[in-house]
Symmetry: D2
Subunit: 234 residues, 4 copies
């Protein structure tokens, strides 16, 4: 059935693998003073706060996180602008036929601008949201039909995919280290502790927040220091 499409609003973030912890970051820093390892959490926390405060960034690169992400193409495009310390592999529209899963806003998402163009303030509006969701669903069904029609005409994937909207879901693997992750979090989450304001789109903020939970779980002292010093990546 041609209009058999799935609508989603949420983002998926799974932690596939990780290596390292707060102690490893402290140990990497202590290499510089030829120091012994170990130490209690209080000492480790003190050292990590010192590194964060003075932007000694390199010790935070010794560690590894690998995520699986599902999100619309418009989110993946913003994500992959992060180059330093990030590695990606994404599902390809050349080598595979994509799945008919498409993004729509929730009814609680900011959807109308009650501010100015220079200083936007997005507010939800359930009526407009429902209307938009209906318009999108109708359109996505047409998009999926066009894609299938062109594919059925014996056309190769790489040409047919041109009609797919950026609201279609994609998935990718992303590897990073604690430093490159903190840089991503600093720019993609509008957080009250931010030293520098940032206004990310809500959907990439959701991805970032889900990543931050994993980061907090495995590097709790680093996460605390990140927050205590303005959420600017060291």
């Amino acid at each position: 059935m041609i209009n058999d499409i799935t609508l989603r609003s949420d983002m998926t973030v799974d932690l596939l693998a990780h290596n390292g912890n707060d102690m490893d970051i402290a140990n990497a820093a202590r290499v510089s003073v030829g120091d012994g390892r170990g130490g209690n959490p209080y000492e480790i926390s003190g050292l990590i706060n010192y590194l964060m405060k003075h932007r000694h960034g390199s010790p935070f690169e010794h560690g590894y996180l690998k995520f699986h992400v599902e999100c619309p193409i418009f989110v993946a495009r913003e994500f992959m602008r992060h180059r330093a310390g990030w590695s990606y592999n994404e599902v390809s529209g050349r080598y595979s036929v994509l799945e008919p899963v498409f993004w729509v806003p929730t009814t609680t998402r900011g959807i109308v601008n009650e501010g100015t163009s220079a200083r936007p303030r997005l507010e939800p509006d359930a009526f407009i949201a429902n209307q938009t969701i209906a318009q999108m669903q109708s359109f996505y069904e047409e998009a999926w039909e066009a894609y299938r029609l062109i594919l059925n005409g014996d056309v190769v994937n790489e040409v047919a995919r041109a009609v797919l909207p950026v609201g279609i879901y994609t998935s990718f693997i992303a590897s990073c280290n604690p430093r490159s992750l903190m840089h991503f979090l600093s720019l993609r989450i509008n957080h009250p502790d931010n030293q520098y304001d940032t206004y990310p789109q809500a959907e990439i903020q959701e991805v970032a927040e889900k990543m931050e939970k994993h980061f907090k779980a495995h590097w709790p002292l680093t996460w605390e220091a990140f927050n205590a010093h303005g959420r600017v990546s060291p």
Copy 2:
């Protein structure tokens, strides 16, 4: 008029700025031997060939090229996977309303697969191409109508853009150096002199070939050495 869209098949590459030449690359290399500068083209060519042959890559990073590119989103997505030595700024679907310019294949582009899925061999088919172009045009008109309709419903750009297809044209500025450019060319052009086979999509190859012309014009000896040694970036 809602269906007032423009169809394109070609890619635009303009060289906005550049700095450096073959002599600068030779001079960067000669720093390592504390050598004087200058030299005739024959000596410079010999040195550059030596560097290329032995993959002494760093001298090729001293130089600068800044391009303006217009291409469909599906091409820009492939392009921006190139991280090292590349800088980008692209038109934003959050901060602006995009232009209704969309990509369609030409009738001479490989559009059907006469090979296998493991070893594709794309061949043109004018009948299928014309049929596809018509289907795309009809669909793009609907996409543009849906986009305008949602925007007119007072919805913010960042939500409305979800319906835009990846065949819509985008534009961006890309800065690089000769080494990062050669790496891009080595992967995005299927060239008979390639030491390692590559099968890029035709549209990104067109972008790459247009960049290569500018590179050849300003770094002719480096370009020759790149070709003479298998088109593997040093």
Copy 3:
């Protein structure tokens, strides 16, 4: 003559080439809004300050600076830890015989620690400085004699160089962009406007300050915004 060595305390920084200016950075940013170019200095300054304040870093990557640096090896080692957005070519101790130029402190440099090891406060001491200079000179003469002696024994450069002290001068070419330069400046200059404290060694700060003069001359509005927003690279 074995003790024919030269003593230096200063660092050399020459700007070999550059490309771009404040307007180019503004134009790179305006690509995102599909905006026209141009604008008066007041508008450009306002835009650049907005970018700096909100850490929109990518527009600051479109530009190019190429420096020639002369400094002791211990400074070059710190410098080349800066990886992202920097390219280097340095004189090689394998392919050439180094020059007998060695670093000594000036008599006004902080040379004794009047603080603690955790909170050092370096103060000059002319007597100790002169004594150190004399000791260093004597030692450097021996180092140079040992180097020459081993080379004269028919030993290859790459082995003989092991005896050269890290106080010997080296020279290198360094290419960067405005963003990577600002990151370097933020960490290598102890400046009253710094949002985050940093305590670089005096010699690399001298290199950084000389680079900053060139940066200020060619990107004056960007330089002002960098200072106005805590000297944290965007």
Copy 4:
């Protein structure tokens, strides 16, 4: 005792941590085709060889290795020129007093050049080696005495270290991924299977070879494919 120094010729490489294996690389690649995971070693090997042959490099970035390295400063300097995909933390001559461990050549190392300057061919010479070792030992003792003397004069570490020779041992932590490691191996090991010739200094080749053993142990199929395709990092 002033001449209480230690002489070494060997390099230390310890694998402190690692994450990932051949299957993970295959899985990262299969993301692009939306494929399931798993597969037997034969299938995984076939896929990895395909990726290597066509220089699909990104799947090889999903993995992590963290090394501890002990080597002379002249080796560390060459090592840290590798920027992309590498992270470092090294013992600091500012924050600590270095240990009196110094490098000398073995008697079997190539030490005289029997070729030309353009085409060097290094050959061992036990007599010259022993003479060089004696000269170096004598000089290193003087260097260590000078360093201690200046430190004892109440001079701060960062000034006193200027007299330390580049033959002194340093230590650092280096994190990388399989792709950045293969790039390092391709340039720092003179190997008969190399597609592109390289002539690294013997000491950094020893570091590289020790790293390669760890790589081979944990990514055996990737290592085989790397060798089968000219040892050019994908």
